[in-house]
């Protein structure tokens, strides 16, 4: 599903964020990406959905070579990847419904189908009946769950999360993680970048450890 093949990323200012990174992830696998901040976790995730491009080496997603993907095919790639951010990145001038519906609208789904799927996604994250609320009226944990609903509403084969529990207390964090675990049990490939080692160790999942842009052997 996901293959990194001797991937390096050097920014124009000379800073090397990733050095010779190689690993592969099977479809439906649940993987933690750990390491201190600045280790290259975010950069690695951004290379999967085409926000950043590798300087050397190749990234394959679902058999496609992302490093050689023309710009016009990037949207198609991203439509198959759900993304969750540390700061939710919700649109605060849109109601919960419209925030969650975004990937479906991009995919051009019928409004009736959109409504059905948005409600299903919200109920999955425990926010049934909240589609009319404004994001700012929700608590931090609820906002994060709206972000997760948005990331999975279009049933993408892959889910990326960058510090999804960064701002949450331990109980909420565990709750969010178990949500991700459920998705992976449904066949979604899940990759979560986090520096919350305590949480990682409490979960039965594979770990990729990044240190100064390199994968540490376990």
């Amino acid at each position: 599903m996901l293959v990194f093949d001797h991937v390096s990323k050097r920014y124009p200012n000379g800073y090397e964020a990733l050095s010779d990174v190689s690993f592969s992830v099977e479809a439906g696998e649940f993987v933690f990406l750990t390491g201190p901040s600045g280790a290259g976790k975010s950069t690695l995730l951004k290379m999967i959905n085409g926000v950043e491009r590798s300087s050397r080496g190749q990234v394959h997603v679902a058999g496609q070579n992302i490093s050689r993907l023309p710009a016009r095919k990037i949207p198609g790639l991203r439509q198959g990847i759900g993304v969750v951010f540390q700061n939710h990145q919700l649109l605060f001038d849109r109601r919960v419904y419209d925030n969650v519906a975004l990937p479906l609208v991009i995919a051009g789904m019928k409004p009736t189908e959109v409504g059905r799927r948005v409600r299903a996604a919200l109920s999955k994250v425990g926010l049934t009946g909240r589609e009319g609320d404004w994001p700012e009226t929700l608590s931090g944990g609820e906002q994060q769950r709206v972000g997760i609903a948005r990331a999975v509403v279009h049933r993408p084969p892959m889910l990326l999360a960058d510090e999804p529990t960064g701002n949450l207390d331990p109980d909420l964090s565990r709750e969010i993680m178990s949500l991700f675990l459920q998705f992976s049990q449904l066949g979604v490939t899940v990759l979560i970048a986090t520096h919350d080692l305590e949480l990682v160790e409490s979960m039965p999942a594979r770990r990729l450890q990044l240190q100064a842009g390199r994968i540490q052997s376990p």
């Binding site: 926000v51 198609g76 439509q79 975004l102 991009i106 993408p156």
Partner: protein, 322 residues
């Protein structure tokens, strides 16, 4: 129906062509309404933008309407002065009648009209202030006049005809203003060019106004655009709402331009009518007809789309998720 839009595991999104077309047209239909209602949420700002566009569109169009009336008046021989042939003999006399026959038969002459001494007197005295002057005369001081409209358009040809008529028996003098005609057509020529230049400049201004308005909107929606792109919205998907916004800005501006033009014409109609009467004509500034109004709306909409397209496309491409 497109339940299979996402494969459950392996492949990235596969949508067939028909579904994609349906989704595309649905997005367009939905944006057609939603962009207007978004704009209407800020009625003050919208009205000002519409007014600016409306004024910019109405100025060259008002000018072109005036110019059209003047040039059409030319062909209706309103401003082109008919020659006035002043008779040295009474209009009932045989000489005068013979002259009338000759002129009517002439191929160089389009229309001939006899204004008798009495008719001239009546017309003259109907003009304000002249009645008293005429009362001072014991008898009618005015000569009979034959008005001759030449077929010839060209100044030199009209001059020749005037000379020929002046040589006839019973003619006191022929008056016409060839220089005025030449000057008028020269002025019309200049005005026409000025108008084209103005039209281009104002259209450019409308495009810039719309482009600039949309740029500000994009700046405010930067976050939304980044998120949309991150979830796989293509450049054209992101651009589409701005195309529709441009459309509505241009179309609404044209609507206001229409109102400005029609009310200006209403405001001008009275003095223009008086001017026309002094030329014994019934020409009047005509309002935009149906076809022209449609044309105006189409122009506004087109400029809006164009304004959105040229200024927004590159700008939107630069906004990429980080």
């Amino acid at each position: 129906m497109n339940e299979s839009a996402t494969g459950s595991g392996a492949n990235i999104r596969q949508i067939n062509r028909a579904d994609r077309l349906r989704a595309w047209s649905r997005h367009h239909r939905q944006l057609f309404r939603s962009t207007l209602s978004t704009l209407l949420n800020q009625p003050g700002a919208l009205l000002i933008t519409w007014l600016v566009i409306g004024i910019a569109l109405s100025l060259p169009i008002l000018l072109s309407l005036a110019l059209r009336e003047i040039s059409e008046a030319d062909t209706r021989q309103v401003i082109q002065p008919a020659m006035s042939v002043y008779l040295s003999v009474p209009s009932e006399s045989e000489t005068a009648q013979a002259l009338l026959q000759t002129l009517r038969a002439s191929s160089a002459v389009g229309e001939v009209r006899l204004i008798t001494e009495q008719a001239a007197l009546m017309e003259f005295s109907s003009l304000a202030g002249f009645g008293d002057v005429l009362n001072a005369f014991s008898e009618n001081p005015l000569p009979g006049i034959i008005e001759v409209v030449p077929r010839e358009r060209d100044g030199a040809g009209i001059k020749l005809l005037a000379q020929q008529i002046a040589g006839q028996d019973g003619v006191d003098q022929v008056s016409f203003d060839a220089a005025w005609l030449e000057r008028l057509s020269a002025i019309l020529g200049i005005l026409e060019r000025v108008l084209y230049a103005l039209g281009v400049l104002f259209s450019g201004a409308v495009i810039l106004i719309i482009g600039n308005t949309l740029r500000l909107t994009i700046e405010n929606q930067r976050g939304e655009i980044e998120i949309t792109k991150l979830f796989g919205g293509s450049d054209s998907f992101v651009q589409r709402p701005f195309i529709y916004r441009g459309f509505w800005l241009g179309f609404g501006g044209a609507l206001l331009a229409f109102l400005i033009i029609q009310s200006s014409l209403l405001y001008l109609s009275d003095p223009v009518e008086r001017l026309a009467q002094s030329y014994r004509s019934n020409f009047a500034l005509e309002a935009l007809n149906f076809g022209e109004s449609i044309g105006l709306f189409a122009l506004g909409a087109l400029l809006g789309i164009l304004g959105s397209w040229v200024s927004v496309w590159r700008y939107l491409k630069q906004i990429q998720p980080k």
